[in-house]
Symmetry: C2
Subunit: 213 residues, 2 copies
DNA sequence: CGTGAAATTGACTAAGTTCAATGGCGGTGG
DNA sequence: CCACCGCCATTGAACTTAGTCAATTTCACG
């Protein structure tokens, strides 16, 4: 990806706006583990993720990372901080190689957002964010660790085929020890069994579902 | 409030749209403690809060209410469920008398949201929501109970003049016992003193601030 | 095989909730 | 004027959930 035109969000822009946009933005490549921005950084740059996987997380007083979301292309990142002119409320780190279109938000024409197509894209992006955050609140504050594990097994059991337990624990914001203990409990209760290849076999979907509903 | 025109969100609508809107919406009054919608209800109605205070909360497995936000006029409520056609992710209950404009979302004209003014209002409302949820995540998952109390004392100390400790505890999503213990700790550490009228006197703002930053 | 990362397990700790008992205080009625 | 009632605040003790730390085992893979 190397042309702004190819980004759906901007595909409907007039030539005039495209030209403006090109002047105030540029693509940049990132390596795995590189930080895009830190929680608390000053706003002003709007990011469009065009390649790679970008993890968003907050850090608590003890230094633990609180996983919030992983973005995949194409997504807008950092719009809240830009729109509201507040510091970025979370940190963004690449977990694969990736590419970002960086846009100087302050230099965006005022009438840029008057474009109905752009408005709709922004509304879509914001709606997605509200949904993500609403989900984070549900998962982190309503569900117990056991419920989180039951939920991810039922809804994304295939993750266990491609991820180590430490990675899954980090996505669930629990420790590997806690995950291990809960899986052991589920095995003993005959709710699941674990294959050699780390694949999880669900024995009793219904009982698992009850745990998180 | 009894005319749609008076709602800023809709003040810029064309007569045609206003007429459509009038046909598919109506005002309704509510009493304190009445439920507007429950978490899990089917979507389809967009609510505009025109009077009163509306509390949004989720309920956990043990029946505890997790306070998320209190809306005051004028605000849009329930748009995520409508836009995404998912069940309402939280419960809304009036904590004073109030009034709501109920809009049948499915019967809204498709081109309704093409109106740039309406779009901007929706973007504003969604941005506000993202900010609210982002704050909830910060307060509930990053801050300790002690930090929550320190923060509310420094940023909204006047709340103690008008609210009982049980009410403040409920806003902070901690128990009254925990709040009491923390206030006692702050008193003993000479960070605050408490007047007869329940007013809180901050003795050391700086030390209090350090606790939550 | 051997090695290092990942998983498991046990003992302990931390934070906050729950439950129960007690204390204070303001309003009300005799 | 005071005794009583009910609500709120306070305090202690036990409990719950999950995290921390350390020791051990398992496992994948060169």
């Amino acid at each position: 990806m190397d042309r702004i035109k190819d980004i759906p969000l901007f595909s409907k822009l007039s030539d005039k706006h495209l030209k403006n946009l090109e002047q105030i933005s540029h693509f940049k490549n990132y390596n795995s583990d590189e930080i895009l921005f830190y929680e608390g950084d000053d706003p002003g740059t709007l990011y469009i993720l065009t390649e790679g996987v970008l993890r968003l997380y907050k850090t608590d007083a003890k230094g633990n990372e609180l996983y919030i979301h992983q973005f995949v292309p194409i997504g807008m990142v950092g719009e809240l901080a830009c729109f509201e002119n507040i510091n970025y409320p979370a940190t963004a780190r690449f977990i694969t190689k990736g590419q970002i279109l960086k846009i100087d938000f302050k230099r965006l024409e005022k009438d840029f957002f008057q474009n109905p197509e752009v408005c709709m894209e922004i509304i879509k992006s914001l709606t997605k964010k509200v949904k993500i955050l609403s989900n984070v609140i549900h998962k982190e504050m309503i569900l117990t660790s056991e419920a989180k594990v039951a939920k991810i097994i039922v809804e994304h059991g295939e993750l266990f085929e491609t991820h180590k337990n430490t990675q899954i624990a980090s996505i669930l914001n629990i420790t590997p020890e806690t995950l291990s203990r809960i899986l052991t409990r589920f095995k003993k209760a005959n709710l699941i069994s674990v294959e050699k290849n780390h694949h999880i076999n669900i024995i009793d979907t219904q009982k698992l579902t009850i745990i998180f509903e």
